[in-house]
């Protein structure tokens, strides 16, 4: 099996991508192929000792920048590291594609080049949401599909459950629908219909471990393993969490500087908050998968350092090794039947 990594994506590319790949390579048997500006990548590689059979380079002359309009960029820059990398995945020249580049372009590239899993209408970017007492929940969608139909939410729940079980190793993951109240019948028209579909999948198909509606208040305590919502709400959840954690950090720092808080106390609290302040950077859990496309694509935070790159590669391998995308394809065959009549 072979991992393809976008050598040019992210703020610290190619240096931290190359170092992360080299560091990961030592700890695993699989080959890693770095795609991008060959001259610059080899220049970085020369700084380290590595096994040339396990680290290879494929040249790509263009780069999609973080500020570019995603669809346009993917169409115009066919020779970019991202488009070339996803193309290699498509051709079977690799089994997992990892990138810290433009999120929208990564989604668009995945959709255009790999296509959707049959039965999946919309993609989702799934993010691990750290629980303060330990562990994570998987938030699906975090921003890929901002307007959802009920069947989209059912698809997110189904793919999220499989990913949570097989990659995050959460046994029998509980699925919760983010809503305004826990009672059945709460929320918007779309959410009421989504509730019905999720319950049907559980009751009639034995598929999901759907626990019902959940309120945002319960999310930080880990009320469900898979948190289902549209991409707009998911985006608000992630960004508000990051914003609150950041402001809480500042508060701790102010008290520390004013002598009101001990160094040890401040350090302990800050460490617990660290995961919350950059949710998309959850490299310890293998990055954020682009669910719904016909291939294993993982997004890293744009500011990923070498350590984050290494962790994402090491933890992300389960996504390809367990053939999770194929398992999703098999599972979603019944989705259209569940959604029939919607």
């Amino acid at each position: 099996m072979r991992i393809i990594i976008d050598g040019m994506g992210g703020d610290n590319a190619p240096s931290s991508i190359v170092k992360g790949a080299v560091d990961a390579s030592v700890m695993m048997k699989q080959e890693i192929c770095i795609v991008g500006d060959e001259r610059r990548i080899r220049e970085e590689l020369r700084k380290y000792s590595y096994d040339p059979a396990k680290i290879t380079v494929t040249h790509a002359e263009e780069v999609i920048e973080s500020g570019e309009a995603p669809v346009k960029a993917v169409r115009a820059k066919k020779k970019s590291s991202m488009v070339e990398g996803i193309g290699m995945l498509k051709k079977g020249e690799g089994n997992l594609f990892v990138s810290a580049g433009n999120t929208g372009a990564l989604m668009a590239g995945g959709l255009f080049i790999l296509g959707r899993i049959q039965g999946i209408d919309r993609p989702a970017l799934a993010v691990t949401y750290p629980i303060l007492t330990g562990g994570v929940s998987l938030l699906v969608d975090s921003g890929a599909t901002s307007e959802c139909k009920p069947n989209n939410l059912l698809e997110f729940a189904t793919m999220g459950s499989i990913y949570a079980e097989q990659v995050l190793e959460i046994k029998k993951p509980k699925v919760g629908l983010v809503n305004m109240g826990i009672e059945e019948g709460k929320g918007t028209t779309v959410l009421k219909a989504a509730y019905e579909l999720l319950a049907k999948s559980r009751d009639e198909y034995g598929r999901l471990r759907f626990v019902g509606n959940i309120e945002a208040r319960e999310i930080p305590a880990g009320v469900a393993d898979v948190l289902v919502c549209d991409g707009f709400v998911g985006n608000v959840i992630i960004k508000l969490t990051e914003g609150l954690a950041l402001n809480f950090f500042k508060m701790i720092k102010t008290e520390l500087n004013s002598g009101m808080l001990s160094k040890l106390g401040a350090l302990l609290l800050s460490n617990k908050l660290r995961g919350l302040s950059a949710l998309m950077d959850y490299s310890e859990y293998g990055g954020a998968p682009v669910l719904g496309v016909r291939g294993a694509i993982v997004k890293m935070h744009g500011s990923a350092d070498a350590n984050a790159v290494k962790n994402t590669i090491l933890k992300g391998t389960a996504y390809m090794e367990k053939d999770v995308v194929k398992n999703m394809e098999n599972a979603v065959l019944e989705l259209e039947e569940i959604s029939a009549g919607e």
Copy 2:
């Protein structure tokens, strides 16, 4: 001017309502009328010394409980303290109605009995969102209207600006639209259209101080004075904030108990978090106004204690004294013109 208070609404009614009213009465010149079970209210009143010209009681034999279906309850319980109280507001027997009771029933009662402000399509429950470095933003809507059209968001922005300026005394309040990114053109179809309307109100009518899209990440730092969003997103923002604050509290307590944090440090941090952990209980800022109905109605948290009741009354008086609802009526005349063609 006269304040009407629901003597039977909330977990601690009538005791904390009566005590709060008595405590507020000492500090103000206006009359307070407590509506509810006269025997029980007089029983509570006997515990205190008060001026009978400034504290009066109006009997209402029924009570709307917190768990009741709002619309049904308002229709069936015409003799409830809530319905009677709003009826008194309608008849001009008072200028402000305050309740800690069933939120949905308070909204429904306001709509049925008082009607909507002309030009306002949907009501909103506005909540003050505490900024960690001090002050508040006003979040409109926090849960009254979960599905919004673009013109609803324009209405929320207009009413929220007036309330922020006249009751919260925020000069020239900045209005931000909660979105997935700050660039124009971001978000759902509804949000894109709402952006246009808000910009038009600013550019062509000189009405709003619209600063554009804002991300949830910036909310805790106080990026805007009026945060505009639909009730679903507003509800998620409030509940997630409460949930995170609660978990931060627990974290601090754990470190304190393990001896890793000093008592003083824990206390300081906890105090700063207090406002965040019960957003709806922001009595210091005069409670949460039901915007869009033809009368001044303010919601208190169900668990409001005597101090919260006192504060809500004292700080809420500006809402009636400055005739804010009338000012809103005058301001929204141009809304239909702005929304024309939507």
